[in-house]
């Protein structure tokens, strides 16, 4: 029992080490982060201004409704994109810096290593998303009288787990093929962007894309966040978006860890676990 406790403690300390390392890196690259944040704000504003642009050119739309919907889409995608990219770069980043062998020879379980990476990504991504939402909302006179922000937060928090599972699956790609893996990761992220209804309802997509949308956690995260913020949906009303996220999370996390362990085994068999760059 004592040994189990000591192992658990060491694992938690190890996961904390991943968070600590990412914190140091964020601190060192803070000006890049600020520049990237500025770019994200500009990109989000460009998208949200589309609503006002349509009205000014004679389009008949509810500007408040469309602008809020676009803002939610941009902010939620920016958040999920951060999660995805952090996980996807778990291997690519370390391979580039040359630390990959030292990380993979440490006595930290892969699950806790990836959990540490996920935990930092969630904390960093949430903080960034809140700032993004507040800064962009200041540019528009948006009205959200019925908003259930807590409900939206719960939906996004649950979606984060599903997204981490998918991110873990894609993070293994650079382990198998150092260059092509990162490229394929971007393809996966792009696919989720186009099918998940980030800026438009999923039902405008061709039939086969709508099928793909059913498997994307971003679809339910966006739908749930919009219904909570724009429609004021209660927790019980949000259940229809929450349960698919729980199912995807319950499948994607263990599946992601299994896929990663197979990828790690392959990399160790074929000598691919080493630095590049």
């Amino acid at each position: 029992m004592k040994a189990v406790g000591a192992t658990l403690r060491a694992e938690l300390v190890g996961a904390g080490g991943v968070v600590e390392r990412n914190f140091y890196l964020t601190k060192r690259y803070i000006w890049w982060d600020l520049a990237w944040f500025f770019w994200t704000v500009a990109n989000t504003l460009t998208i949200v201004f589309i609503a006002q642009g349509i009205e000014s050119t004679g389009g008949q739309i509810d500007v408040n409704e469309v602008a809020t919907s676009l803002l939610i889409g941009a902010v939620v995608w920016a958040y999920l994109g951060v999660l995805f990219e952090f996980l996807m770069e778990t291997v690519a980043w370390e391979r580039w810096e040359g630390t990959i062998e030292y990380t993979f020879m440490a006595p930290l379980s892969r699950a806790m290593h990836l959990a540490g990476q996920g935990l930092f990504a969630i904390s960093y991504g949430l903080l960034r998303a809140v700032f993004l939402f507040v800064v962009c909302a200041l540019f528009f006179d948006l009205s959200m009288p019925d908003a259930n922000f807590f409900g939206a937060f719960v939906v996004i928090a649950i979606a984060s787990i599903s997204f981490i599972g998918i991110g873990v699956m894609t993070s293994v790609l650079p382990l198998i093929s150092p260059e092509k893996g990162t490229q394929l990761g971007f393809v996966a992220q792009g696919t989720l962007l186009v099918v998940s209804g980030v800026y438009y309802p999923v039902d405008v997509l061709p039939g086969w894309m709508q099928v793909l949308a059913k498997f994307s956690p971003a679809t339910y995260a966006l739908e749930g966040a919009r219904r909570a913020i724009q429609g004021g949906a209660s927790m019980s009303e949000l259940w229809s978006d929450i349960w698919p996220l729980l199912v995807i999370g319950a499948v994607s996390i263990p599946l992601g860890l299994w896929v990663f362990s197979r990828g790690e085994h392959y990399a160790k068999k074929h000598g691919k676990l080493k630095r590049s760059g």
Partner: protein, 285 residues
Amino acid sequence: MVQTHEAALLEAVPRRPDAAVEVRDLRKEFRRRGRKRGERRTRIALDGVSFAMERGETVAILGQNGSGKSTLVRVLSTLLLPDGGEARILGHDVVAEPRAVRRLVNRVSVEASFFKKMSAAENLGYAARYYGMTSGETRDLIPVILERVGFPAERRDEPMEALSRGMQQKVALARALLTSPVVLLLDEPTTGLDPRSKREVQEFIREIQETHDSTILLCTHDLDEAEALASRVGILDRGRLLALEPADDLRRRYEAETLEEAFFAATGRAFEAEEEDDDDREVFA
């Protein structure tokens, strides 16, 4: 009962359960695409390597680039899976019990390998967490270890990229020692260093030998370094361990005056000769 050829070879190597490092008939080969379409090239990196190391012993493995030194270190540090044979650290199999092995082993490689924007203290701090050491445990320990390796205290918070190769290598030694490894794997730790840094790193390895109970496997292509630091010297050539004995015995066996001559007599090749092309080195080094 039918026994495979490989199993028979493994059984022929006597067991040494009391050894700190036990390697028996270890095999590893790599396959990669050739230059022609559809061509596959196979290179043997480790070819039936067997040896054992006592606790507290320092063994040097001499070999050219591509001889299999780094492959051996990677297998012992659980970063590569062997194709055959077995390797054990204090009785723990590197394939079946990787986590137990990882707690016992640490490594210093030819590249210092750090997050370059982070400082020495930050790099050591997060790395120690991976071994279960809390910030409370490392707060006082990191300055002490950095001081022991001769790292100036006032440069502790500078980014690694601002440090010389010699300084970075000292931090790499400190990182390895921080976790108190039972087995320390040194893979060309002084390659590319200026003479002064090289001497300082070698002096520190000597200090580790005197003050720690660590078993040290030193892979190098520096003959003087091997002889000065190790009680036994091995010659690894094209994946085969041709000899492993005290330097004096090696010279006697090959009727040579110097280790370099002994190496030539054992391998049939001059020590400086490089036979690998860059592509091979990338995969097999």
